[in-house]
């Protein structure tokens, strides 16, 4: 396949960026999207030009490091895929593809297509944990947890922290990300002890980091690679109101 690429190039957080055009003539259907970019970078290296910086690591949809906006869509054309799972069979010969970084005030660009998502760590630091020190734990089977509750907690815990929810949201809200962690821990008996502080602290951190408010458009759940449910946001709101009521 012949593919034309329009890629966002930006030297640093402060520099101005722009779209540059590149041409690839030997792309194959079986290649992953990132292998196509590897091919471009090899071409650039031979020509002595600086390579295109993009984030990636596991290349199997689980680490959450890859983060591209492809033709205006976070993680590309297929819903619930990560960028690294996207393959060239989703495109056709002669296509022009626009590639940009995840954009949000809380995700400043580092270089080209790489962004800084430290704000996600900050939100988890605020309360996204159970305070069980190493060595403190009771026998695991002393806390029976209904199969369905454990499965439901897993659905929320599956979040890979990629930030596609933020990149796709018109308000750049991280509500889906925050609610996934709050729901994961609030559903489990072990996590219930700290639920009040957790929701208060995490939501405060979310707002302080510069993410927007949720207006419940549901765009986030449409792109989420792990299909985290919009219902988690409702659950987060419940937890928040519960915390208000009992304080």
């Amino acid at each position: 396949m012949k593919i034309t690429l329009k890629i966002w190039r930006q030297e640093s957080a402060k520099a101005k960026g722009k779209l540059e055009t590149y041409q690839l003539n030997e792309v194959e259907q079986d290649m992953s999207f990132l292998e196509m970019l590897d091919m471009l970078n090899e071409d650039l290296a031979v020509k002595g030009e600086r390579s295109v910086e993009f984030d990636h690591d596991c290349r199997e949809g689980i680490c959450g490091q890859c983060s591209l906006v492809i033709n205006g869509q976070a993680h590309g054309p297929e819903s619930h895929y990560t960028t690294c799972q996207t393959h060239m069979r989703s495109f056709k010969d002669g296509d022009t593809i626009f590639i940009e970084p995840f954009r949000a005030k809380a995700f400043p660009v580092i270089r080209d297509l790489k962004v800084n998502r430290d704000s996600f760590d900050t939100i988890i630091q605020a309360g996204g944990y159970i305070s069980a020190f190493t060595g403190n734990a009771p026998e695991a089977n002393n806390i029976p947890i209904h199969h369905d509750i454990s499965e439901s907690a897993f659905d929320s815990a599956a979040c890979i922290g990629c930030g596609a929810c933020v990149a796709t949201c018109k308000n750049s809200s991280a509500a889906l990300f925050v609610s996934a962690k709050i729901s994961h821990l609030a559903k489990l008996p072990q996590g219930k002890v700290e639920r009040k502080e957790r929701v208060e602290w995490m939501i405060t951190a979310h707002d302080e980091e510069g993410f927007g408010s949720c207006t419940h458009t549901g765009a986030c759940a449409m792109v989420c690679p792990q299909e985290v449910q919009l219902l988690d946001i409702t659950r987060m709101n419940f937890e928040f109101n519960r915390a208000l009521c009992i304080s």
Binding site: E11, N41, A45, G48, S51, R59, C63, P138, A140
Partner: protein, 637 residues
């Protein structure tokens, strides 16, 4: 220098207790005065960071991803073992120890393995308390599955994302400590060298991958939890940025490297489909609980798999190993696949795969049960290949997966450099010549959470009067200069061959001759080819961009430079071991029925290599003694 494994005296089952009763401690008030550098934030490094910070030490943790939650432990799918005996199927700590030693083909240290089995029980409790949503029965109790090489069900799992869930718990424990101020994390930082003062590990030289700045950091002890180096094969189940550089640079500063050639080739990964391919995604071993592996009986059979009737299929694992069937250990399954493919029965475009079929299980248990057990793996398979595996069998193929070899460590997880420790996949401990499935999440977590925080105090007890370690010394100057010189050298090559292309060439050599089956001629050939490639790299690599600022090409080049040396040692190690054991299968040393043949008389040791420069190495042997297990021929028939 003689190797001292520092195994505590006493009966096997009491060693860890006795060790803890007699080791030195650091009192809580003094811990604040002690700095510890941890490199790596996966299960091993992350677990160590969180646990050490909880104890009150000042911890600095370095890793190259943008968040600790992305360390490659995240990709582990199938599960984690523990001898809980929840299934009442006769499991015990001894049984788990036995399975692990046998699985590793009697090439690991008894005391370490026994400790891992003992602590496995606590790990499940710990992870459950942290909120890991392990699979459960409708009664609410924890559920188990089986993994290869054992006859009990002792594997705990969180769907097909067990590594992710364990890592989330570990990451969250780290984040709590970051908030408390006991842990400082340095994301997007890569370790480039180690600083030794008076022979002790005292600090590191790192590159900030965002600004390109070279930084100095000092500490009273350094812990490496930097994972495996299977990416040396280019195509592997590892992450793109997984590397051997941290352990390798420690090796060049004096840490012995043990059993480097023992690499696990996993039998069930997705096959290579094209030249530009960068990754072989793993399909969890747990699939072998319900999937049956087969190839067509007829050579070059072009029919679609569903058109081939049962009697024309060769379920070769069930045929060759009736006792364990599809659940034989990985090395056995990979070699059996290779044997069938070499004999002309491989399937797929490149004839490089075998089938993994769920038809029987779906017929018996229904699609819904299979979906609940492996749903995410089937989805992942579909996303990558476009094929629905509920309807037709998966195509799978062996791929480089896990490094049994790594830095040599003693019972305390200390390397041969005082004050430098190695945890998780970065060390060589516990798995011998072949790792059992679901034992490595266990080892990484146990090393980080339970072992290291206890053993390191024995060393640090002597450091309470040392005071802060300054970084403006000649040792730091020299190490920093060496790092900067290497970066300049790389950037001045300005050749014409992209780094990835050289890495792919290296991968081809390694997969051909230093992987599933090895022989003298092939290994000698490989060593020559590796040397040629190393020369090509240093004269013709195309490394663009500059040193000040983000530069992925430079990062890759630095890692490849190390791989080109590690590769040589791997081949030398494989050549020096004239026997077959576990994953190390030398074609010259096989039994009459084609199975691996050990030579316990001559090779009952771990090979620990000392760097002599140039590259050149000296072999040291840690002789292994087995008091609590009868050494037998490993058989799964």
């Amino acid at each position: 220098m003689a190797l001292n494994a520092k195994e505590p005296k006493g009966p096997l089952k009491d060693k860890w207790r006795l060790y803890n009763e007699h080791k030195n401690l650091v009192n809580p008030a003094n811990r604040k005065k002690i700095d510890i550098i941890v490199v790596g934030a996966g299960l091993s490094g992350g677990g160590a960071s969180a646990s050490l910070a909880e104890l009150g030490y000042n911890v600095k943790t370095f890793f190259f991803q943008d968040s600790a939650r992305r360390s490659h432990s995240v990709a582990a799918q199938g599960g984690v073992n523990a001898a809980k005996n929840y299934q009442n199927d006769g499991d015990t700590i001894y049984k788990m120890f036995y399975d692990t030693i046998k699985g590793g083909d009697y090439r690991s240290r008894e005391a370490n393995v026994y400790r891992m089995a003992q602590l496995s029980v606590d790990l499940i409790d710990h992870m459950t308390a942290q909120g890991v949503p392990f699979g459960r029965e409708y009664s609410g109790y924890l559920s188990n599955r089986s993994f290869g090489g054992v006859l009990v069900s002792r594997t705990f799992y969180a769907r097909g994302q067990t590594g992710q869930q364990l890592l989330m718990a570990t990451y969250q424990a780290m984040m709590k400590q970051v908030k408390k101020g006991t842990l400082t994390q340095y994301n997007r930082h890569e370790i480039l060298d180690f600083v030794l003062i008076d022979g002790k590990a005292r600090g590191v030289i790192v590159r900030d991958l965002v600004t390109g700045k070279i930084e100095r950091h000092s500490a009273h002890a350094v812990v490496l939890g930097t994972g495996g180096f299977g990416k040396i094969y280019y195509l592997s189940t590892l992450a793109m940025n997984s590397n051997g550089s941290a352990t390798w640079r420690a090796h060049k500063k004096g840490a012995f490297f043990a059993n480097p050639s023992w690499t696990q080739i996993h039998p069930t990964a997705l096959p290579q489909a094209g030249d530009q391919q960068s990754k072989l995604t793993l399909m969890s071993e747990s699939l072998r609980n319900d999937g049956r592996i087969w190839v067509p009986l007829k050579k070059d059979d072009d029919r679609l798999p569903n058109d081939i009737p049962d009697e024309e299929r060769d379920y070769y694992l069930e045929r060759r190993y009736p006792a364990f069937g599809n659940l034989v250990p990985r090395d056995v399954a990979s070699r059996a696949a290779k044997e069938r493919m070499d004999a002309g029965h491989g399937i797929g475009k490149l004839k490089n795969a075998v089938y993994l079929d769920f038809r029987t299980a779906i017929g018996k248990l229904g699609v819904d049960t299979i979906k609940e057990r492996y749903g995410n793996l089937f989805t992942m398979y579909k996303k990558i290949t476009g094929i629905d595996a509920y309807k037709e069998p998966m195509k799978i193929s062996p791929a480089a997966h896990f490094s049994m070899g790594g830095l040599w460590v003693d019972y305390e997880l200390g390397t041969t450099i005082p004050g430098l420790y190695a945890v998780g996949e970065a060390n060589f401990a516990d798995h011998g010549a072949n790792r059992l499935g679901a034992n490595s999440l266990l080892q990484a977590s146990v090393d980080g959470n339970f072992v290291l925080p206890n053993t390191i105090s024995n060393y640090l007890a002597d450091e309470i009067r040392t005071g802060p370690i300054p970084t403006d010394t000649k040792e730091f100057d020299e190490a920093e200069k060496a790092v900067k010189d290497q970066i300049d050298k790389l950037l001045s090559i300005k050749g014409k061959t992209p780094v990835d292309r050289i890495h792919r060439a290296l991968g081809k050599i390694m997969f051909k001759e230093v992987a599933m089956a090895r022989n003298e001629k092939g290994l000698i050939w490989a060593i020559e080819e590796i040397k040629k490639l190393r020369k090509q790299f240093w004269t013709d690599a195309a490394i663009t961009g500059d040193a000040d600022g983000m530069n992925s090409e430079l990062e890759k080049a630095g890692r490849l430079a190390d791989y080109l040396e590690i590769a040589e040692l791997m081949a030398i190690d494989a050549l020096s071991r004239n026997e077959s054991c576990g994953a190390h299968f030398r074609e010259e040393f096989v039994s009459d029925d084609g199975e691996a043949e050990r030579n316990d008389e001559e090779f009952m040791y771990s090979a620990a290599w000392e760097w002599l420069g140039k590259p050149d190495w000296k072999l040291h042997k840690e002789h292994l003694e087995f008091h609590d297990i009868e050494v037998k021929t490993r058989s799964y028939k």
